[in-house]
């Protein structure tokens, strides 16, 4: 479906240039960048950091988790081994990735004063919140700004003069573990996302969008774009022939093998179990997920992509399983261990954010449920689960979710003054299910 005149590289380059221009030479205090899944957000952050450092502007980088900070430090070090970088960390044991100790240009410390004068200092929002400065940083980059809570930005915003905010609006919204309805509708609702508050108070800030997803294959980008980003479409950086997934061992005709073949062919596969109400850790569905993973690895998969001409083997570290709940993830891990599978990442949507794999196997959040709560309908949850893969995504689900959606329309109370998020989870779920129905394989052992 890629039109002849669309050059993804050029389109992405134009967007990046505009973002960097506004960041380095703009007059506004902030620049907001929306990035769909796998659109090169980290690459952008690293490039902006290097250019700001080159321009001699002291820079602080705010990310949300220690893993994200360490990842950014490693990427910076890879791009420019000459640049001195500070990694501010907490005073806990194992506060940062020990690989940073091997890099001579990276200085690590639990005290901000030890790192003063370095061109770039990186840390988590939680750690930055404890830092006190007399002179604010000239510039900041806030990564994963849509997953940052407004109150967390409030705690660090005094540290910088200007900032570049980068994030993915389609992923999971930040949440609070206690009720916060009391502040719903206020522009500075502390439980809202940092970008929502920022734009409510500064509506004229320049906003940019990265237009190309380099991760999602041509089979996935249109669905994810239509279902989760209906008003800000993006496209895949590759076309249909660019990525292939093949298996050395032919199918044995079982459900798992047939769904693997379907997904290898079309990018999507739905392994449908018979309708039934089950506990969260549905043993049959969990076993089905584990069997699919086992067969994926047993059948000698090989992935061909634009990255290299030779096929790369589909190994355990290139496969991930995504679930909605932690106990489901634990159940899948146990089932995989029983089948002798190790080193496959199994995690919840929250923890899979920002990660990338060749093939993902997803236990559908609504599978086997008698009701559809706001948690399970949250658009971001399904979006994260359906957008982690470079080649194929296999969804395991009980039949009857479409009826469940129709039986339980969204009943959240409407709060005055809040921005209504589009699309809502109900609609997004229907869009994804309608597409998956074309790749449906009924369960058979």
């Amino acid at each position: 479906m890629t039109t002849v005149d669309f050059d993804p590289g050029a389109a992405a380059g134009r967007a990046t240039d505009a973002i960097l221009h506004d960041t380095l030479h703009g007059t506004e205090r902030g620049v907001v960048v929306d990035s769909p899944p796998g659109a090169g957000k980290s690459t952008l952050v690293v490039r902006a950091a290097l250019e700001l450092a080159d321009a001699g502007r002291p820079l602080m980088v705010v990310a949300q988790t220690n893993a994200q900070v360490d990842d950014l430090v490693l990427r910076l070090a890879e791009k420019n081994p000459e640049l001195p970088v500070g990694r501010l960390h907490s005073s806990d044991a194992d506060a940062y990735n020990k690989a940073l100790d091997d890099l001579p240009q990276v200085r690590t410390s639990a005290k901000a004063a030890d790192l003063s004068g370095l061109p770039v200092v990186l840390s988590t929002a939680a750690k930055w919140a404890h830092v006190k400065v007399d002179e604010p940083w000239r510039h900041a980059i806030v990564d994963e700004a849509y997953q940052m809570r407004s109150d967390s930005l409030l705690a660090v915003a005094g540290l910088f003069e200007r900032a570049l905010f980068v994030g993915d609006p389609g992923q999971l919204d930040p949440f609070a573990i206690v009720g916060s309805e009391q502040w719903a509708g206020l522009s500075y609702d502390p439980s809202a996302s940092a970008v929502t508050t920022l734009l409510a108070h500064n509506p004229d800030l320049p906003q940019h969008r990265l237009p190309v997803s380099w991760r999602l294959p041509a089979s996935a980008a249109p669905l994810v774009s239509n279902a989760f980003y209906p008003y800000t479409p993006f496209r895949s950086g590759t076309s249909h022939g660019d990525r292939r997934l093949g298996f050395a061992v032919p199918s044995d005709g079982s459900g798992p093998d047939r769904v693997i073949d379907e997904a290898a062919e079309s990018g999507w596969g739905l392994l449908e179990l018979p309708a039934r109400h089950t506990p969260r850790t549905d043993p049959e569905a969990v076993r089905a997920v584990a069997t699919v993973v086992r067969r994926l690895l047993d059948r000698g998969g090989a992935a061909t992509s634009e990255r290299s001409s030779a096929p790369t083997p589909l190994t355990a570290d290139r496969v991930a399983v995504g679930t909605a709940h932690r106990d489901q993830a634990a159940a899948v891990r146990a089932a995989l261990a029983e089948l002798g599978v190790r080193d496959v990442t199994v995690d919840t949507a929250n923890r899979l954010q920002g990660r990338e794999y060749d093939v993902t196997v997803v236990l559908h959040p609504l599978s086997g449920r008698p009701d559809a709560t706001a948690f399970h309908l949250e658009t971001g949850r399904l979006c994260v689960l359906a957008s982690r893969h470079r080649h194929a995504c296999i969804v395991v689900c009980r039949a009857g979710v479409t009826d469940l959606l129709d039986d339980y329309p969204s009943t959240e109370p409407v709060q005055l003054g809040t921005l209504v998020k589009f699309p809502d989870g109900w609609e997004a779920n229907h869009a994804v299910l309608a597409h998956l129905a074309e790749h449906r394989i009924p369960w058979s052992p």
Partner: protein, 529 residues
């Protein structure tokens, strides 16, 4: 709903009686709580119809508004309420003890201890249900900005003295009740359903009568039968035998009894106003008094069953021993009470209509911290709650089968003993996950090392073993000991300090500035009339 709650609810259905969801009481109960059973008028927001209020279960004070739409009568009700609630509050505000509090020294910026007054006890307000909490907040909001004739001689409709003050206290109590684990203002249905699991849904548990029917059914009836009776059974006149706990009333009561009584009152009042000679006025005043008494009797008849039910519920809760850390949480409530007392005494203005950005963020941070603290403390105080956490893989208990002394590497090796625990639990332990156990009330941390077969876990103890080369006696579990490790931390870390409201950053709209007086009803674009 967690698995253990589901199980308890199933058992409640099976046995016909609510099952314990806790073995100790997790909320503080005052020796002398003020019980407040309010009723509101249908179709008129914030128009109280009446209330039973007091600290003596045998002698509640009845307050009633014979015509709830009459604002003078409403003010009279609020003034009466203030005359009951405020002396109760003042009695606690007067009795103080010396305490210490950490404050940030404005000059050095260091945390220092300062002497402070702390109220020795705090008043406790009990309402029957969650809707009662909202009503307390609503009353607080409707009163705290009123001006008395003393404060503002030009106020067009001055409020009776002390009414704004009552509004500020009710607002404070309403806000405090949003803090997890606080006990200044409690909704009885919420406290009861924290301690018992019934065989009905959480929504149905909000009906105080039905909830008590499950917990303590009358002889010869199952909980389900008694709850059904409490919800539905009516007398021959069509009135519910167990009136709803309010503040909303049953429509059948409103239509058949209340509306005619109020109408009689209105007619009697009009007639009295139209009386032409003193004799006639005397008769008509008697009629008016009778009509007023009718409304009062009606209010009493709908609130008294709830009043008695509230005290019965309190009796049931008092039968449970208090959890070990309930007292500590109550001390926080006392600090909260003392703080508000000091703000009132210092002549500070009432709480603003809306929180500013910094206040909202601070409140959210406090509540999240208290939620974490509450969940940890309830589990540590109560083996039944801990069982629920064990079932979800967040804790494990078992017997120590082996202890191997080991030491840390480095110049001064410290003890890092390896403890092997045999458990039937299935904790969700990641590699090198931190686990904690309570050692004389203080958390000792350990690190998950590995699994040596089915249900045999090895952890390495990391701290609380003293400074010496060998661990202090009693600081390391011994072979044969029963231990319980949790995956969650026992204590909450303090959050970062937020900027002062005057330093609200540009991302959050800058400093709030002086509060501009707002017209009570500003004209908006949507106003078409």
């Amino acid at each position: 709903m967690s698995l253990i709650t589901t199980l308890a609810r199933l058992e409640a259905v099976g046995s016909g009686r609510a099952q314990p969801a806790a073995t100790v009481r997790h909320r503080h109960l005052s020796d002398r709580p003020l019980v407040f059973v309010p009723l509101t008028t249908a179709g008129e927001t914030g128009a109280p119809l009446g209330a039973l209020v007091g600290t003596d279960r045998d002698a509640p004070r009845l307050l009633a508004v014979p015509q709830p739409r009459d604002r003078d009568l409403r003010f009279a009700f609020l003034a009466d309420l203030a005359d009951i609630v405020l002396p109760y509050v003042d009695a606690y505000a007067a009795s103080v003890e010396a305490a210490e509090r950490t404050e940030t020294d404005p000059e050095t910026g260091k945390r220092v201890k300062v002497e402070a007054e702390l109220c020795a006890d705090a008043p406790q307000l009990i309402v029957p249900s969650r809707a009662g909490l909202d009503f307390v907040r609503l009353l607080g909001r409707s009163m705290r900005f009123r001006r008395t004739a003393e404060q503002d001689p030009d106020a067009p409709y001055p409020a009776p003295p002390r009414v704004p003050l009552l509004g500020r206290w009710l607002t404070h109590y309403g806000e405090r009740s949003r803090v997890p684990g606080s006990s200044l203002l409690l909704a009885l249905t919420e406290v009861l359903s924290r301690h018992w699991a019934t065989g009905q849904s959480g929504l149905e548990d909000q009906h105080l009568g039905a909830l008590l029917a499950w917990i303590d059914p009358p002889d010869g009836l199952t909980g389900a039968e008694a709850a059904r009776r409490a919800e539905l059974e009516r007398d021959p006149a069509g009135q519910l035998l167990c009136p709803p706990a309010g503040p909303a009333t049953d429509p059948a009561f409103d239509n058949k009894l209340l509306a005619p009584a109020i109408e009689r009152y209105d007619r009697a009042r009009t007639a009295l106003a139209a009386a032409e000679d003193p004799l006639e006025a005397d008769d008509r005043l008697a009629a008016l008094t009778a009509a007023e008494r009718d409304v009062r009797d009606l209010v009493a008849s709908r609130t008294r069953p709830t009043w008695d039910a509230v005290w019965r519920g309190l009796d049931l809760l008092r039968a449970l021993p208090a959890g070990a850390q309930v007292e500590g949480r109550w001390t926080r409530d006392r600090w909260s009470f003392t703080g508000h007392r000091d703000r009132v005494l210092a002549g500070e203005p009432p709480q603003p209509r809306r929180d500013d950005a910094v206040t909202a963020a601070n409140k959210l941070a406090t509540r999240e911290r208290e939620q974490g603290r509450l969940e940890a403390q309830e589990a540590l105080d109560d083996p039944l709650v801990m069982a629920g956490r064990r079932l979800t893989g967040e804790a494990f208990a078992g017997e120590v089968t082996d202890v191997v002394p080991a030491y840390s590497e480095g110049k001064r090796p410290s003890p890092r003993p390896l403890v092997t625990v045999r458990t039937d639990d299935r904790p969700h332990l990641a590699e090198r996950a931190k686990v904690y156990r309570s050692l004389n009330g203080r958390p000792q941390s350990a690190e998950y090392v590995g699994c040596e077969g089915d249900g045999v876990l090895v952890v390495r103890i990391l701290d609380k073993m003293g400074r010496g080369k060998e661990p202090e006696p009693g600081s390391v579990p011994e072979k044969g000991d029963r231990v319980c490790f949790t995956l969650f931390e026992h204590e909450q870390r303090g959050g970062a300090k937020l900027p002062d409201p005057e330093e609200t950053p540009w991302t959050h709209g800058g400093p709030p500035g002086e509060p501009a007086p707002e017209a009570p009803d500003t004209v908006t674009e949507e106003d078409v009339l």
